[in-house]
Symmetry: C2
Subunit: 334 residues, 2 copies
C-alpha cells in the first residue's frame, strides 16, 4: 500500500489527506453505487472474507471472528485514508508542510441486515452500535500519536456513501481537524467570557424557546440549530455537560439510542429517504475533562448541493428557516 | 419578498444566510435541472422579460436594454440570497446574533449561446466576461454597507447549477466571509513573519518545482495547489502582486481570458465534462492595496462527493496527488 500523506494548505491553514490508495476504488468518480441495494453485498454475513480481518465484533457466544454470528462488526477500511503502521515524519518542502498519513480508518458494519440505515433495528441494537463507537474510541485513544477520533455515518450516495449496506466510520488522526479546532476555540472564548459552557447555554435556550425543538427525551434534546447551514440540519445534545462521547454511561447510551433512532427516522420518513450524514463531535483524546467543550451529534440531510459560493466562502445559504424545519419534523409521525 | 436573514452559529463562528425566498425555486430539492439543455431557456436572447430588468449589459450599438442585441447581460438573481433594499439591523436573540440579509445577488449571463460553459467562445468574449466582473465589483463597492464581493460560477448540476445556460454569479455581502477571513489572516501572519506575500512565494515555488504546473502564460500560472482538497483542483494566480481583482488592466485581462479559457477547456475535455465551480478570491472592498493579500481564482471540479468526514472536520481526503493531476492536465490537448 502507498502510505497517504497529510499536506497543509498555507492559505487556509487546513490539512488535506492525499490518499492515492483510495483512487483505486472503482466507484470513486461516478456513480450510482450506493443508491440501490447491490447485487453483491461485501458487508453481509457469510462474506466476512471480503473485508480485511475484523478488529472487533459483538457476536453470539460460540461463534468465531470473521465468521457469521455477529450483529456489529468492525473492520479496517479497505481503502484507508490513514494507516496505523507508519511513523509521523513531519517535513517541509519549501514553504509547504507535510507529514505521513498515520492514523486509523475503521468501518463499523452496524447491522447484519442489508438495509441502508439502522432505523429499522430495535432500540437495543442501536444502543450496541453506540457502545461499539465508544469501545473503538477508548481503544484507539491509547495510541499516544493520535489526537482525535471522528465518528461519522454517510447514508445514501449524495452523502458520500459508496457501499449501500448500513455502516459507520471512524477516522482517527494525528491532528485535531480544523473545524473541531474552531469549535474548541469558540467554546473556550465563550467560557472565558461568560464562565459557562456554550452548548449548555444553547440547550437551555432551545428548551425555553421551543421553536427549534424536535424531540426532548429527558437527558437529550434534538433541535434545529439557530444558524442551520442546510435545510433540516439537526443536532442532538446531552442536557448535562460532558466533554467526551466516550464518557457515556449505559443508561445514557440507552436514551441516546432512543432519541437518535427516532430523530433519524423522522428525517428519513419526512424527507423521503434523503441522503444524510451524521458526525459525532467529541473533545480531543488527551484534552481531559474540558469544562468548555460539550460533545454532540450533528445530522446533515443532503437536500441541497454545495455550490461555488458556499465552497468559496464557507458562508451557507439555507432556504428553509430552522423554525419551519423543526415544526415540520415535530409533525412527522413515526 | 421576505427579506433574508443572516445568522451566526456561535460554535463555528460562521454566518449563514437564511433565505426563505429561495425555497420557492422548483429545482431546490432535486433534480436533473441543470444537466441537460432545457426545453425553455430563460437566459436566451428574446426571453429578456423572463428575468428581472437588467442592471448592465454589453450590447450592439443601437439595441435597447432588456431586448436582444447583448452579448453579456447582468440581472438581479430572481431568488436572491441577499437584497440591496433593506437596512442592516444587527440584533441579538439570547446568545444568538443576526442581521438583515442586506447585500446584492446578481447573475452575469455570460453568453447569448445556450451552452453550459463559455469555453466555446472566442478569447475576446471571455475577456468581456472578466471585464464585466470587474465593472460590477467596482460599481457595488461604492455602497459603504458592503464589505465583500464573491464572484463564482457553477457549471453542471453536481456543482450547484440550477440553470443550464452558462452564467456566473456575484454575491456582495455586509460581512467578509469566513474562508476569506481565514485566508487574509494566514497571509497577514506570513507577511509579518517573512516580509513577503504568501501567494507571491507560492507562485515562485510552483514555477521552480514545475511538477504541479498546468499552464504558464507569462503573467499568470495555472497549477494544482500543493494541498488540493479535491482531484484536479486548479488555481490561477497572477505572477505580479495585486490585492484586488478590480485592479486588472486591459492587457492583463486579455491574458487572463486566454489562460482561464484554456485551463477550463483542459478540465472539461480531460474530465469528460465534469461539473465544476470557480471562485475569484479578491481583497475586501475597502481594504486598500494590501501587501499581504494576492487575488486568485480557484477552480474545483466536483468529481468526488463531500462525505460526513469532510463536512464534519473540514479535513479533505483527495485520492489524486496534485502532481499526477497536473501531469494529466498538461497532457490534455485542446
Amino acid at each position: 500500500m502507498i502510505p497517504s500523506e497529510l499536506r497543509k494548505d498555507p492559505l487556509s491553514q487546513r490539512w488535506v489527506i492525499i490518499a492515492a490508495e483510495r483512487a483505486k476504488r472503482p466507484s470513486d468518480f461516478d456513480s450510482d453505487a450506493a443508491s440501490e441495494p447491490p447485487v453483491f453485498d461485501p458487508f453481509a454475513p457469510g462474506n466476512e472474507d471480503k473485508t480485511p480481518p475484523e478488529i472487533a465484533s459483538y457476536r453470539r457466544p460460540g461463534t468465531f471472528p470473521n465468521k457469521p454470528g455477529w450483529h456489529i462488526r468492525v473492520v479496517p477500511n479497505k481503502y484507508p485514508a490513514l494507516q496505523i503502521e507508519c511513523a509521523l515524519e513531519k517535513r517541509g518542502e519549501g514553504i509547504y508542510d507535510s507529514m505521513k498519513g498515520v492514523g486509523a480508518h475503521e468501518v463499523i458494519i452496524d447491522t447484519p441486515e442489508g438495509a441502508q440505515s439502522f432505523t429499522g433495528s430495535k432500540d437495543e441494537h442501536v444502543q450496541d452500535i453506540l457502545w461499539m463507537y465508544r469501545d473503538r474510541l477508548v481503544d484507539l485513544s491509547r495510541d499516544k500519536r493520535m489526537k482525535y477520533g471522528m465518528l461519522f455515518k454517510n447514508v445514501g450516495r449524495a452523502a458520500g456513501a459508496t457501499v449501500y449496506h448500513s455502516h459507520s466510520q471512524l477516522i482517527v488522526s494525528p491532528i485535531v481537524p480544523h473545524h473541531v479546532e474552531e469549535k474548541l476555540s469558540a467554546c473556550k472564548n465563550f467560557y472565558e467570557y461568560r464562565g459557562r459552557c456554550l452548548l449548555c447555554d444553547i440547550a437551555l435556550q432551545e428548551l425555553e424557546q421551543k421553536s427549534r425543538l424536535v424531540l426532548d427525551s429527558g437527558q437529550f434534546i434534538a433541535f434545529e440549530p439557530y444558524a442551520a447551514r442546510t435545510p433540516f440540519e439537526t443536532w442532538i445534545v446531552p442536557k448535562n455537560h460532558a466533554a467526551h462521547f466516550e464518557s457515556l454511561t449505559q443508561p445514557l447510551c440507552e436514551e441516546l439510542a432512543y432519541i437518535l433512532k427516532r430523530t433519524l427516522a423522522k428525517i428519513e420518513k419526512g424527507l423521503k429517504n434523503t441522503a444524510y450524514n451524521y458526525m459525532i463531535f467529541t473533545a480531543p483524546f488527551h484534552a481531559g475533562d474540558l469544562a468548555h467543550f460539550h460533545w454532540h451529534i450533528e445530522i446533515v440531510p443532503r437536500l441541497t448541493r454545495q455550490a461555488g459560493f458556499e465552497w468559496g466562502t464557507g458562508f451557507y445559504i439555507n432556504p428553509v428557516p430552522p423554525e419551519d424545519a423543526a415544526e415540520f419534523l415535530r409533525g412527522v409521525k413515526i
